[in-house]
């Protein structure tokens, strides 16, 4: 199988490339910034440093959701070529916009804390009456969170709103539980979890957490959250059984350390399994006697374009 790891940095890809190669399959890393998407009269292409990307059976993308405007057309193209990807088309737009992500989870009937989003600060205090304190208040410019703060009552919320001097695009208020967070990494059907203690108003980092075994109901919630957001590999955070975060970016080394595992091996197994299942679905351009593949990257490559 030929598997591609597209990542922003080499260090985010190396462990997966090694794990896949150790299992006897081909794995390649390409830096995301080297990719150029091309749309022509009747076809679209993915190129890396001027060369058309070779056909891969599976692609694993490790990139921040803020890169959604680039990743989304890339996912669309990979999907139209019949290539398996761990993140589905539309998933990066969901990950980039928190109010949209929570609506998506709500529509999928996944458990989420009650939340209200509005574009106007004027009525935010009035809106807060529909929720129960404490609240997590977030302000946004564009789709980016500018500030996030926990408020315990209406007075604190009011003073937070008054403290915002810049023009913002929206507010989100979400019911907040002062409780431990369960951070999980989901790889297909496999879940690794870490419990992060909430003490004195602060949630511990994953690296300070402890290994945790998720319940049946938590397992169901993690799967439903990742599926609703379009990820086969994702991080899902739960608080009192409700989803508070879904993200395709995973702190792999922290999870490995706490769970005493080499999670990259599970990722490799999952990617190989998906690549095998996807075999035959890949729409490869006509390649007479396989010459295109053999000579495509050589000086004679232009003959096969």
């Amino acid at each position: 199988m030929d598997i591609l790891i597209l990542a922003e940095k080499k260090k985010n890809a190396e462990m997966f490339v090694s794990a896949i190669k150790a299992k006897g399959h081909n794995a390649t890393y390409i830096r995301l910034s080297k990719i150029i998407l091309v749309s022509k009269q009747n076809e679209s292409l993915i190129k890396s440093k001027g060369e058309e990307l070779a056909p891969y059976d599976a692609v694993f993308i490790q990139a921040r959701t803020t890169l959604a405007p680039f990743i989304e057309p890339l996912l669309d193209q990979l999907e139209s070529e019949g290539c398996y990807t761990t993140s589905k088309k539309g998933s990066y737009y969901i990950g980039m916009n928190e109010p949209y992500q929570f609506v998506t989870l709500s529509v999928a009937k996944a458990p989420i804390p009650k939340s209200i989003t509005s574009g106007n600060a004027k009525n935010i205090e009035h809106l807060s009456k529909k929720l129960t304190y404490p609240l997590l208040a977030k302000s946004f410019i564009g789709r980016t969170v500018q500030q996030a703060i926990v408020v315990n009552n209406a007075r604190a919320l009011n003073s937070y709103i008054k403290s915002i001097k810049t023009e913002i695009d929206g507010f989100m208020l979400r019911q907040f539980s002062k409780a431990d967070i369960i951070s999980s990494v989901m790889i297909g059907k496999k879940i690794f979890s870490v419990k992060r203690k909430f003490t004195d108003g602060i949630t511990a980092e994953i690296s300070e957490g402890k290994i945790y075994k998720v319940s049946e109901s938590e397992t169901k919630t993690i799967f439903s959250a990742a599926k609703a957001c379009g990820y086969d590999i994702a991080r899902v955070d739960l608080c009192k059984g409700k989803i508070v975060k879904v993200d395709p970016i995973i702190p792999w080394t922290d999870f490995n350390k706490i769970c005493s595992e080499r999670i990259e091996d599970y990722v490799a197994d999952f990617l190989i399994e998906q690549a095998i299942q996807n075999e035959g679905k890949r729409k490869v351009k006509y390649d007479f006697l396989g010459l295109r593949k053999i000579f495509g990257k050589t000086i004679l490559g232009w003959l096969f374009k």
Partner: protein, 309 residues
């Protein structure tokens, strides 16, 4: 192309039915456009409401999301027409996702909003469907811009993904010019899209797609400006669309999932190619009066209450 007699679909009897329409406006909505839409809508719908998106409250719990304005549930309308721009993304995506799961008829969908506000993605999506467009590229790092130029050649048009109404668009004639602009663009962490420059005749054609019906308008650009956007000046007049224009406009709208939109076309090597698809086209009030708005409302009225969801 000389203007000839244009035939419009007949309005159904001016008879109000018990139908309701909600128009959701961009937070930067144009009051004159809203007034015109409301005026036309009130002639047909018994209940019409306009709400700017930033005044909507989105209330989400497990399994249920409501759109509320002044304690009114906005999902109870028969038809909802969201007129949103790329500046409304934060709330726009959430609002459209909610509408998609309601019973209201909506002439546009969430995916169309995301794609049509992304010029490269639009071009890519259409080219995959065999709809003629112009060679375009999208990349992150200015370091590899030369590879993008290999595809388009000079001169080319550089667009920022968030650009709209002809703003954020630069014509680049040389490597030196490209390098100085890329330096500035990179500071803002923008995604860069380039498009082969086509020297048009000083005009383009905007096709308003209204369901299966198309109204074509020839737009002439302001003297000395290579962009034909009316919002930047210029003039517009009605034309009879050719079968080629009709086919491209309708197929483009269908490919993106829009019943109401506009498709901008330009002549290139004696063929029409798509320049842009607009999620929230203006009605050209200055040149066409309320004609476009009337057709939009006619269509929304016919469709409302017929949603198959």
């Amino acid at each position: 192309m000389t203007p000839t007699k244009i035939i419009f679909p007949e309005h159904t009897q001016i008879q109000k039915e018990n139908k309701s329409l909600l128009i959701i406006g961009s937070k930067t909505y144009k009051q004159s456009t809203v007034n015109m839409l409301l005026e036309e809508a009130k002639k047909k719908f018994s209940n019409v409401m306009f709400v700017p998106i930033d005044k909507i409250q989105i209330l989400s719990v497990e399994g249920k999301t409501e759109l509320i304005y002044k304690d009114k549930n906005l999902l109870e309308f028969d038809a909802i027409y969201p007129r949103l721009s790329s500046r409304d993304f934060l709330l726009g995506e959430a609002v459209l996702k909610t509408i998609e799961n309601s019973k209201a008829y909506c002439p546009v969908n969430l995916s169309a909003y995301q794609i049509s506000n992304h010029k490269f993605y639009t071009s890519k999506k259409l080219s995959n469907q065999g709809i003629p467009g112009i060679t375009s590229t999208l990349f992150i790092s200015p370091k590899y811009a030369d590879y993008a130029v290999d595809e388009t050649g000079y001169p080319f048009v550089m667009k920022l993904i968030s650009g709209f109404a002809g703003k954020g668009v630069v014509l680049i004639n040389s490597k030196e010019q490209m390098e100085s602009i890329l330096e500035a663009v990179h500071l803002f962490e923008e995604f860069i899209s380039t498009q082969k420059f086509i020297k048009g005749k000083d005009s383009d054609v905007r096709c308003y797609v209204i369901g299966d019906y198309v109204i074509a308008v020839k737009r002439k650009c302001k003297k000395g400006d290579w962009r034909a956007n009316i919002s930047r000046g210029g003039s517009a007049s009605l034309i009879n669309p050719t079968p080629e224009m009709l086919n491209i406009a309708k197929t483009s709208a269908k490919a993106l999932g829009m019943d109401l939109c506009s498709v901008d076309l330009m002549e290139y090597k004696k063929k029409w190619v798509v320049i842009e698809v607009n999620f929230m086209p203006g009605p050209f009030r200055k040149f066409l009066g309320s004609m476009i708005a009337q057709q939009w409302i006619r269509f929304l009225f016919e469709k409302s209450g017929k949603n198959q969801k």
